[in-house]
């Protein structure tokens, strides 16, 4: 333990000096061309009716539309059942003590509800106009079907380790699913490809981006008082993450996981009050969302431009199609993998359809009431300004919420990355500790380096892994449909009985 601490200290010291010596600039110049190239490949755009459509977004949307039709609007049909499953109506009391549907959902939602729900929506509205909100909601709705498929497969094809713990996620269903179809080599390649991608994504979007945004917000609230102190904030944050993931002090994580849902409710509650206070302009704001969705007035690429931005932001926020949540959901012990899929329908619903929409309405109504409410503020600062119009004190709890969201997202992603790592290098404890140390170092790094190119690479890779993931989903979708229909039929016939709430 002492040795680990020493290693940690050296690593963090190196991080701090790296900043002082301007090494982050060197890193940036070195990685910028790679980032530009990777970005160009992954976000390859095809010009279409004056808009730029990234192929990867088209790939995600096409998947979501296909699964919605293929499973005959399960996102509507299965909604009530999803709530009953989360409530535990169908939970056998003899299985008490195992991971419940509620717990898996709550953990997965903590991983996706984050800065994107507060800041990402503002970005979408700034770039894509109010109409982007409509497409954001649409993408959330369609994404529910993709989530169902990937979470069902995550449970179905997971590995049960000799020590009784489980490892699941896209790398496992890609490998085993393709192998079942006689494409063993291809499946192996896809699984490893996914594992590498989720590992790098975990260090970027799930780590550096989060710690960086947390620092930016703290600094914003402190009125710039933390300028140049990024290394200190980074060290503190890395220290806390270290205590949780390496030290195994689960209580901190548990406290965070407990606070995050309350923060989300608190956030929505005040957002609804702001919308209520802006009620006089609400009809106009909603009207703007619909008219903007169809006309795309003032948006580059018109309606299609708004659509692309809305969809892109939605994917960033709810991660449907990326497969990350499937790793968290796969821990549930159930005889029917499809039940976990049905529960996961609620994830894009909560994340995108509820929380993102509320944020969009806060910004939308503020913009109608006072077109210059945010000044030059963008992203999360814009959302903050919209709240500030009604509650002068709001930026402080908002920053606090943002930091907590960032922290819980880091904890969730540290696990996703770990599963990518153990898939590649095996489940040895030593290897896991090395991974966790790397992860902590990146938390600290996130606060000191300019994020530009490094984040671009990580972003691109996270989008890139949706390519093998969705390909796998297409191939394995018939299995999901069969299990889903069989399960729904058995509920219909009364073969599967409720234990509660009869």
């Amino acid at each position: 333990m002492k040795r680990i601490l020493a290693a940690m200290a050296i690593m963090l010291l190196a991080t701090a000096t790296a900043h002082a010596a301007g090494i982050d600039e060197t890193i940036n110049t070195a990685t910028a061309p790679i980032a530009a190239w990777v970005g160009k490949v992954v976000f390859f755009k095809i010009p279409i009716f004056g808009a730029q459509l990234p192929l990867v977004v088209l790939w995600l949307v096409a998947g979501a539309v296909f699964f919605t039709f293929y499973l005959r609007f399960i996102n509507i049909r299965g909604f009530k059942l999803a709530i009953q499953l989360v409530r535990g109506d169908y939970a056998n009391p003899k299985d008490a003590g195992e991971v419940s549907h509620f717990q898996a959902l709550a953990t997965a939602v903590s991983g996706t509800v984050g800065i994107g729900n507060i800041g990402g929506v503002a970005v979408a509205v700034t770039v894509g106009g109010p109409g982007a909100t409509f497409w954001l909601i649409m993408a959330g709705f369609l994404g529910m079907s993709t989530k169902l498929v990937e979470c069902t497969l995550g449970v179905k094809y997971r590995n049960e380790n000799p020590d009784g713990s489980v490892s699941g996620g896209p790398m496992y269903y890609l490998r085993k699913g393709f192998a079942e179809r006689g494409m063993e080599g291809f499946g192996k390649f896809m699984g490893t490809f996914y594992a590498v991608g989720i590992f790098i994504g975990a260090l970027g979007i799930g780590n550096m981006f989060q710690s960086n945004q947390a620092y930016v917000q703290l600094n914003h609230v402190a009125g710039g008082g933390l300028d140049g102190l990024g290394w200190l904030v980074g060290l503190i944050m890395a220290g806390i993450v270290f205590i949780v993931i390496v030290g195994g002090i689960k209580s901190i994580a548990r406290v965070t996981e407990k606070i995050v849902p309350f923060m989300a409710i608190f956030y929505c509650f005040f957002a609804l009050i702001v919308i209520f206070l802006n009620a006089s302009v609400l009809p106009e704001a909603i009207g703007n969302i619909f008219s903007g969705a169809l006309t795309g007035e003032g948006v580059a690429g018109g309606a299609l431009g708004a659509l692309i931005i809305g969809f892109q932001r939605a994917v960033f926020s709810n991660e449907a199609g990326i497969g990350s949540a499937s790793i968290a959901h796969s821990a549930v012990r159930t005889k029917e993998p499809v039940t976990e899929g049905i529960v996961s329908l609620l994830e894009p619903f909560i994340d995108t359809i509820v929380i993102c929409t509320i944020t969009a309405l806060v910004i939308g109504t503020s913009a109608v009431a006072d077109p210059n409410f945010a000044g030059t503020a963008k992203g999360i600062a814009m959302t903050s300004a919209a709240f500030e119009r009604q509650f002068a004190w709001f930026p402080i709890p908002l920053a606090f919420a943002g930091v907590l969201f960032a922290f819980s997202t880091m904890i969730s992603w540290s696990y996703y990355g770990l599963k990518g790592w153990t898939y590649m290098f095996g489940e040895s404890m030593r290897g896991q500790t090395i991974y966790k140390l790397i992860f902590c170092a990146f938390v600290a790094l996130g606060c000191v380096v300019q994020l530009g190119p490094i984040l671009d690479i990580s972003d691109a890779l996270v989008f890139l892994i949706c390519v093998p993931n969705i390909l796998g989903l297409y191939i394995l979708a018939p299995i999901v449909r069969k299990e889903l229909e069989s399960y729904l039929a058995r509920i219909e016939s009364g073969e599967i009985k409720k234990y509660k709430g009869v």
């Binding site: 939970a91 003590g97 009784g164 993931i245 994580a253 849902p261 790793i327 904890i411």
Partner: protein, 144 residues
């Protein structure tokens, strides 16, 4: 037909006294005992992904520990006195689970020890015996 008594056991001294007392009653009325250990657990709590992945393993460990360190020694001494005894470990809300177990095993009485906590402590943490008395469908004997 012989009666079944459910005894709530948690490894505390109070629960050992409850088991002893229930054994006496069982001998006198030719009844059987079911020793029940409830591990407090809520399906609505929040966990990290890593905890979720290890949950199944932990659950087995928890059950194993309750069996070997708490239930088996008590069951052995009860058996030694000539009373037929069953043991059961369940996760869940303590008093609710005890009620469910009593129903499941057709118990006609529940025996439970009490810790004799101060008023403040039981106000803060609640008392299993107290809520069991309020919700049980069968008579409850609280053993001091």
């Amino acid at each position: 037909m012989s009666n079944t008594f459910l005894v709530a056991v948690d490894g505390s001294k109070g629960s050992v006294r409850a088991a002893d007392f229930a054994t006496e009653r069982a001998l006198a009325s030719k009844s059987n005992l079911v020793l029940a250990y409830v591990i407090e657990w809520s399906p609505y709590s929040f966990h990290t992904p890593e905890e979720l992945a290890e949950r199944h393993k932990r659950r087995e460990e928890e059950i194993e520990r309750a069996q070997t360190t708490v239930l088996e020694p008590i069951a052995k001494s009860v058996k030694g006195k000539g009373v037929k005894v069953d043991v059961v470990v369940n996760h869940g809300h303590p008093s609710e689970t005890l009620v469910d177990l009593a129903k499941e095993h057709g118990a006609t009485q529940i025996f439970i020890g009490r810790k004799g906590e101060s008023r403040v402590a039981s106000l803060l943490f609640g008392s299993v015996a107290g809520s069991l008395v309020q919700t049980s469908p069968v008579p409850v004997t609280v053993v001091p």
